[in-house]
């Protein structure tokens, strides 16, 4: 059984109207009819995959519970029998044909991403938080014929500056020694057109400088348990950043920064989606 591509990503959000407005108006993703008849709040064409918006508080029998966010189109209609690790929560693809081909053939494996809105937007990768990325990658390689991609290590660095400005003692500025607060290990896994970033967050003891036991992100309980973020590839990050500044969509870090695989990335502020969802817009090339 070979893993084909990521066909659909279900995203849960606390602010459905704003999330749908962002996907449609800001990113220009086309709305799709909910032909499966499931009670979703919105379904959007994201090039090689579909984004399906669910209300986080809604009781949706069609939505996989908790971690089941990523649906793969594959040669089997029941991936749960493939023995994939729990963090994936892989669910059978709705509406697959009998031979396992994708529901929307035009967006099948290896197809060119759909031109969407003013810029070409496609699913770049899905970041899945897990405990041992290498073990899951090995399992995907052996059982789903995926290929291990790059491994990356992102280290967070914090520097604090203090300013004391007194009417008697004058002004004194002091910069503390920079500290590594933690970071993530990332193992990319790819198939034909699907990319998954298996991530594991680690913390660093502030004094000893030693890496401690891997931990989940502090805010993980507030979002999907496994999906860390979704990355959409876009042709011109700076242009869409300029548009966001004009229209007022909030981003993190004050603008594009260098992200995984050396690409420029614009991180949407989760407040846009009710404080839950992380969407990254990445440049298509280095």
């Amino acid at each position: 059984m070979a893993l084909g591509h990521i066909e659909e990503i279900g995203i849960r959000t606390l602010d459905v109207p704003t999330t749908c407005r962002f996907l449609h108006e800001a990113l220009g993703l086309a709305r799709l009819d909910d032909d499966a008849g499931r009670p979703t709040a919105g379904r959007f064409d994201a090039g090689s995959a579909e984004l399906v918006v669910h209300a986080a508080s809604a009781s949706d029998p069609g939505a996989p519970p908790g971690v089941g966010m990523v649906r793969f189109a594959a040669g089997s209609s029941d991936m749960t029998g493939a023995g994939l690790p729990a963090p994936f929560g892989v669910a059978p693809t709705h509406g697959d044909s009998a031979d396992g081909s994708p529901r929307n053939p035009a967006q099948g494996a290896g197809q060119t991403p759909t031109a969407t809105g003013d810029g070409i937007i496609s699913l770049d990768y899905v970041s899945v938080e897990c405990d041992v990325p290498e073990a899951i990658a090995a399992q995907l390689e052996s059982q789903c014929h995926c290929a291990a991609g790059t491994t990356e290590r992102v280290t967070d660095i914090l520097q604090v500056t203090e300013a004391f400005v007194s009417d008697k003692y004058g002004a004194v500025y002091h910069t503390r020694t920079p500290q590594m607060s933690g970071g993530v290990r990332v193992q990319f896994v790819t198939s034909d057109s699907a990319a998954v970033a298996l991530t594991n967050r680690f913390t660093v003891h502030p004094k000893a400088g030693a890496t401690t036991q891997p931990t989940r992100a502090p805010d993980a309980p507030h979002r999907s348990a496994a999906v860390a973020h979704i990355a959409l590839a876009i042709d011109d990050v700076d242009r869409i950043w300029a548009e966001f500044r004009r229209s007022g969509w909030p981003v993190l870090a004050g603008g594009p920064v260098t992200g995984l695989r050396g690409r420029r990335v614009l991180m949407m502020d989760p407040v846009t989606f009710g404080g839950e969802l992380q969407i990254h817009l990445t440049a298509e090339t280095l």
Binding site: T150, L158, Q159, F164, V165, S166, Y169, L252, A253
Partner: protein, 310 residues
């Protein structure tokens, strides 16, 4: 009464004797004993004032359940007269009562003194005390919600000399370093963000200062910039803001002046006392400060200060 002196600073602790023993043994300060009604009250002389240790729940503390630094007592030959003259007393504080060793004591309204429990008392007449480790009290930290009002009350009304005022700000810069098999190593720095800011007003009381700490942090998080929602208070709240939320404005910590903070902290550590800081770090008024862990002092938050006088 211009430039009033502090007779004592009252500490509410779980074990008055054990807490006083720490200051006596660790700092080598002079200890005396006093009484309130039938309760023994250990006193530790420090500089021109003293620390008075009350067991939590003592009748001397009144209705307040606050632990740690509880109240300050201004030395006065005529406590009731001075309290009435300040205009900060009222019917709720009642008439003068018997304080330590039967000395006359009169209270001010806590609400009228920015949350600080202030009393006038007849002087204790203790000998001046210092040690090789600590010279005197440097200041009393006070969690304040309005420094302008505190300045009006303590400088204009109680006639304590104004010393200085400053704004302390803390900024953070976050970045991440990316090491990849595929791409060149990358580094991204995010814009500098304000972590917190305090307005700090120093007002002299005897041979130390009252340090009023007011949180003036302004949230500049993304929430505030959101175009379609009202701002909220999400984000880091300073220790002072959290303290006021929990206990209200009032006395917060003690600070002792030392000549060599690193040596003093090392001495405490060598003697087995638990510390928060092992070395002095920058603080207000061009100082170096280092905190002792509150468990060491039976719940009293305190730090050492090394600084030059201007």
């Amino acid at each position: 009464m211009p430039n009033p002196a502090l007779a004592y600073i009252a500490l509410a602790v779980d074990d008055a004797d054990a807490s006083a023993s720490f200051f006596e043994q660790a700092f080598g300060l002079h200890r005396a004993e006093a009484s309130f009604e039938r309760e023994n009250v250990p006193l530790i002389s420090i500089g021109e004032t003293a620390l008075a240790f009350f067991n939590h729940g003592s009748a001397a503390l009144g209705d307040s359940s606050r632990k740690g630094v509880h109240h300050i007592a201004i030395a006065s030959d005529a406590p009731q007269l001075d309290a009435d003259a300040s205009g900060l007393a009222g019917p709720a504080t009642g008439h003068a009562t018997a304080g330590l060793d039967g000395r006359t004591q009169a209270r001010l309204l806590c609400d009228a003194t920015c949350g600080v429990d202030v009393r006038f008392t007849q002087p204790l007449e203790l000998p001046r005390s210092a040690s090789p480790l600590v010279e005197r009290l440097d200041h009393l930290g006070i969690a304040s919600s309005d420094n302008a009002r505190a300045r009006h009350v303590f400088v204009d009304t109680l006639q304590c000399p104004y010393e200085s005022e400053q704004v302390d700000s803390e900024w953070e810069t976050r970045g991440h370093n990316i090491v990849s098999e595929q791409a060149l190593p990358g580094f991204a720095a995010y814009p500098m963000q304000l972590r917190g800011s305090l307005r700090v007003t120093f007002i002299t009381a005897g041979d130390c200062e009252l340090e009023f700490l007011q949180d003036i942090s302004v949230s500049v998080s993304a929430d505030a910039a959101r175009h379609d929602a009202a701002g909220n208070t999400r984000g880091d709240r300073s220790a002072i803001a959290r303290y006021i939320e929990r206990y209200g404005a009032g006395l917060h910590h003690l600070a002792f002046k030392t000549d060599d903070i690193d040596a003093a902290l090392a001495t405490l550590a060598d003697n087995g006392y638990r510390l928060i800081d092992r070395n002095g770090r920058p603080g207000s008024r061009r100082s170096l400060i280092g905190f002792v862990h509150p468990t060491t002092t039976q719940g009293v938050l305190m730090h050492l200060v090394q600084r030059e006088e201007l």
